[in-house]
């Protein structure tokens, strides 16, 4: 089937999403929000992967498979990440990464 939306558009979109996520990681201080932004970045990767695997005329669905694995990894990361955040929160009630700076230099 022919398409009017070029592959490049999808990739550009994914790039936009990726760097928005990166910006979020750079500017936000709430650990949970940073985690979300990372998820956005992963999603951007997913978009790119799917787009490639659909549009490059490949014999298999490698891209999509990759995406599946990224899902798994994302889930795992979120689980562990939240656990870490909680453990931290128990010792000192904050999730503000600027306040978690006892080690420096």
């Amino acid at each position: 089937m022919t398409t009017l939306v070029p592959l490049g558009a999808f990739i550009a979109l994914s790039a936009a999403l990726f760097f928005i996520g990166m910006a979020g990681v750079l500017v936000r201080r709430n650990a949970v929000v940073i985690l979300m932004c990372v998820e956005l970045m992963l999603n951007a990767a997913n978009l790119a992967l799917v787009a490639f695997s659909r549009r490059l005329g490949l014999i298999d669905e490698r891209g999509s498979v990759f995406v599946v694995f990224v899902f798994v990894i994302a889930a795992a990361e979120v689980a562990v990440g939240l656990a870490i955040v909680l453990a931290l929160y128990r010792n000192r009630p904050t999730v503000d990464v600027d306040e978690v700076r006892e080690m420096k230099g």
Binding site: I11, S14, F18, G21, M22, V25, A31, I34, L35, V38, M41, L42, A44, A45, A48, L49, F52, S53, L56, G57, L58, R62, G63, V65, F66, F69, V70, I73, A76, E77, V80, G81, A83, I84, V85, A87, L88, R90, N91, R92, V97, V100, R101, E102, M103, K104
Partner: protein, 481 residues
Amino acid sequence: MTDLVAILPETIVTAAAVVVLAVAAIWGDARVRAWLPWLTLLGLIAALASPIAYPASGLFFGGFAVVDQFTAFFRLTFIVLAAFTAVIAPPYLRREGVPEAEFYATVLFSTVGAMTIALATDLITLFVGIELMSIPVYVLAGLQRRDRYANEAALKYFLLGAFSSAILVYGFAWLFGIAGSTDLVHVSAAVAKAGLGSPEVVVALALVTAGLGFKAAVVPFHQWTPDAYDGAPTPSTAFMSVAPKAAAFAAILRVMATALGPVQLDWALVFAVLAVVTMTGGNVVALVQTNVKRMLAYSSIAHTGYILAGVAALAAGTSAGAAVLFYLFAYGIMNLGAFASLTLLDLEGTRGATLDELNGLWSRHSSGALAFTIFLVNLTGIPPTIGFLGKFLMIQPVLDAGFGWVAVAIALNAALAAFYYLRVVVHMFMYDPEAGAPRIEGARILSVSLVVVAVITILLGVLPDPVYAFALRGAEPVVIR
């Protein structure tokens, strides 16, 4: 069936992890817990032995896993490191009340991940392996969960790790886009076709370099290292300062040499510069540290620099890859040993020891101090130690590849590093302990194993040929042609 045989070691290690967890879950009392490290060790030894019993080599799982000398070498390295960790960990874990079973299991899981990287022929496998290697390490960092520093270390390590993983996977996505395949070989073919002229390769290359650079703690992607190493419970630090780094370099070798080999000319110089910046930065900051654990963290950054120089010199052929492999092995043992030596001291919190707290260690715990000294001499690179051979073998390809200035930088940095390494020796031997500082008792197994390993580093320094020959064979697959 052969597929399963091929990954027997990985399977065994995984099984060992599960068994450890199960045993601990079923009989939770101290007597059993005392056996957990040996259980772990047993599993690891079995994993090490299994390929000898059931040798396998070639491609498996439809080309998704390759077993070659490269794999073999890294399997050996990772298993040795994990085993060493398991042996030195118990005293600290019990003292600080760190959940033991989970510790060993997590170490084992991480090891499986690292071994997977060595097996990978495909971006997907590689990425999954990297994550399986990293995520347990985040856990290890935070395992002493009532300790603020451990929490902080885990948080920083995790957030930045996830961040870099995202960057890496995005880079992989682009590589996939370029090649239409995730198989490293195909990627390399496509990259060769596209060449660096094509901008998407540029982006992919940058993303991948940054992503992998983070895992290996290359300046400027290194800043997590000191805090994570510093805050994590010391045995975790010992493990995570070596195994993930080795794994990262395994990944770097696979990706850079195979997938991005065609544009080696372009990244070699960048890597060379990064190498010099990394080693210098690490050393210079380590110079001003007063906390030994943190100092070692920075020194590990410096060592990343040395190893990276070898990667930059891959053009020199087998010797370069061999140098990297050998250095990784040497660095793993000596650095792990150095951190492990710190666990001798029973100190508040995770944050290692200040230089003054080490005063007169020689009179408080001779064998420990001796072992620590030997490890430090290794790190300094004074013969006849494996650490020295690492440097010697590293300089060779670097010069061969025409990076004379990098070689000189390595030499000068080694001299610079000698200052802070030997300063630790000064405190251990040449200052008297504070009044009333008791002799350090117990932890017999720990000190014995430390001394044994220290002696091994010297023996391997005198007779390194087996290891180096192995490394040479292991480097064959990652030669850029």
